[in-house]
Amino acid sequence: MTRFLIRRLLASIPVLLGIVVVTFVLARLLPGNPCVAELGEKATQAQCAQFNHREGLDKPIPVQLGKYLNKVAHADLGASFRQRRPVTTLLAERLPVTVELSIAALIIAVLIGIPLGVFAAYRHNTLADASAVVVANVGVSMPIFWLGLMLQYVFAVTLKRSPLGLPPSGRLDPGIIATPFFERWGVHANGVFRFVSRLLILNGILAWKWAIVGNALRHLVLPAVTLSTIPLAIIARMTRSSLLDTLGLDYVRTARAKGLGEFLVVIKHALRNALLPVVTIVGLQLGSLLGGAILTETIFNITGVGQTLYEAIGARDYSVVQGFTLVVAIGFVVLNLLTDIVYTVLDPRVRVT
């Protein structure tokens, strides 16, 4: 087990290095002049030279890359040209927003996707199974930016006056301010606390402010549902096919032969093994949710990682593009690694390979 872990960790080092280099190169290749973007069209050459010197942009690219690697190793991602704030600060502010959205989406996807898949496999080759398959196929093919807009229309316009009405954008109603929980607790705020306090729902629970929790939840429903569509469908499909495979195995037949009820056979015997590949899929989806978050956050006007990145790319804010892409990609690699490890723990057969 340890050897497997070490090998797996070592294998991800070149990938991580590659990611740093790719993000650096891509950010450098963005067209446009950061000096003009920052100081405006009227910037003189002298001003630009000074700007480039201050930001280290006048050095050769390899030197810049070396400096960048060194900085990254010290958790320094530079500062945003536009906002004049360290990228890490910006990240600490925006990452929790996306994390909250992604977790909510994943919870929806798992809570609906797995039962849907189980149901379909349980009722294999019936109308119910076929409908579940249709739902899953439509979900996988969904243009989520369109779904988001349609949900906004239905729940924020058509049903506005009904109990089902939901707010179309933002994280809280205007005027509502969520006080960080640590202020109410009267404890000193550190980085972790600040991060947690930006997860609005968790913060509301910790601060015992149920009105805020409710408000944040209502704002979260539509974006989370939108973002969950594709993972939900993928999880449902995977659960269904994996469970169908497992139900054909000998030990399941044995369980049936000894007289167990069908429900027990499916849920207690087959499902446990069938869920193994689903674990992998769930892990992989968590990473790809970040891609979907760009579209979802743009539509629902949520200032998370996705929206920030999209705006930074448009504004040629190099450091933000670099830093955010880097963190997202590293997060992706780490999540995949964790998925692998969880899978290995659950299924000892994998370790041999």
């Binding site: 070149p14 249709v134 093919s141 969904m142 930016f145 924020a156 579209l295 790319i313 992706f332």
Partner: protein, 327 residues
């Protein structure tokens, strides 16, 4: 694509595998069959209702694209005038469905610039299909080449290629595509390139996995003993046997490509207005979605149908071509 599998020896046509697992046992080819793998596969595929539905949906879209000028009642880019005024944001009106016959008839209404939504949708099918096809073909060519090299020369070269693929796969695909388009500049061609680059690793991996297992098989050894080497061995002996997982992947990749082209256009990075493309139609009408949702509704449905068609066919193909799934 050749209809026959190129290996000369008695190799089961199903000698392939999409993962890293060892190849399945000689998939028991029925004796006396003359029809060939691909025909059988197609027949098998379209025996499933879902794949048949996919086929019908795709045929409809293909027909729309091919016959666009005949089907579309109006120009996709010119604003329509009614009584000298631009026909802005008119709701769908079909007499058969109860709309007064005296009103101007628009199946899907008009957009905020007074253009007929239905005509734009019809012409949009061309861009969607072309962009999807171009993205898949480009990614296929590059991905297959890289996968063949990485699989055949599994030494340091193969390793380097696959590590680069790993790095590309480490980015959420849409994020990487957005960055690439921004670097190259917005536009349909660049969006296609970006989407291809992002999907290259998928094809490279599939091909490499197949090549690794195929090149250990006896018919390859036999070919080598006969003096077949290099490109000929790879292209004429190994590649044809690695095609099945690739075809499945390409069909499913088509779905992703169509979706991503629409997504990039929605973000303003793909097709530029006033050209009719479904994603950019949604983007263009986004600000009026609360007052006239039909302008957003129909293009989205079309994207969904198009992607769904490819997914259904791809799934059917996979089931038909994967001998492990024959239950």
């Amino acid at each position: 694509m050749s209809a026959e599998v190129g290996a000369p020896s008695a190799v089961p046509a199903a000698a392939h595998d999409s993962g890293d697992a060892p190849p399945p046992d000689a998939g028991a080819p029925a004796l006396g069959r003359e029809r060939g793998l691909w025909r059988d596969a197609l027949r098998e595929t379209f025996r499933k209702t879902s794949a048949r539905i996919g086929g019908v949906l795709l045929s409809i879209i293909l027909a729309l694209a091919a016959l666009a000028p005949m089907i579309a009642p109006h120009s996709p880019t010119e604003p329509l005038l009614i009584g000298g005024k631009v026909a802005k944001s008119i709701k769908p009106c079909i007499h058969l469905l109860g709309c007064a016959a005296s009103k101007p008839q628009f199946i899907m209404g008009t957009d905020k610039n007074g253009r007929d939504v239905f005509s734009r949708i019809v012409f949009g099918s061309r861009i969607s299909l072309l962009a999807g096809a171009a993205a898949v073909v480009f990614a296929l060519v590059v991905g297959v080449a890289l996968g063949l090299v990485a699989g055949y020369r599994a030494g340091w070269l193969g390793n380097v290629i696959m590590r680069i693929m790993d790095v590309l796969l480490a980015f959420p695909s849409l994020l990487l595509a957005i960055t690439i388009v921004t670097v190259l500049g917005p536009g349909l061609l660049n969006a296609i390139i970006a989407i291809s680059v992002v999907t290259i690793p998928v094809y490279a991996r599939v091909v490499r996995a197949s090549v690794l297992s195929i090149k250990e098989q006896e018919f390859v050894t036999a070919d080598r003993a006969l003096g077949v080497r290099g490109p000929r061995l790879v292209l004429h002996r190994i590649l044809p046997n690695a095609l099945t997982p690739l075809v499945v992947q390409a069909t499913l990749g088509f779905a992703t490509a169509v979706l991503d082209v629409a997504g990039l256009s929605f973000l303003g990075l793909g097709v530029r207005p006033p050209k009719a493309e479904w994603g950019s139609m949604i983007a263009g009408s986004r600000d009026v979605v609360f007052t006239s949702p039909h302008q957003v509704f129909f293009p989205g449905v079309m994207i969904l149908i198009n992607v769904l068609a490819f997914n259904l066919i791809g799934d059917g193909l996979r089931d038909a071509l994967d001998p492990r799934l024959n239950r």
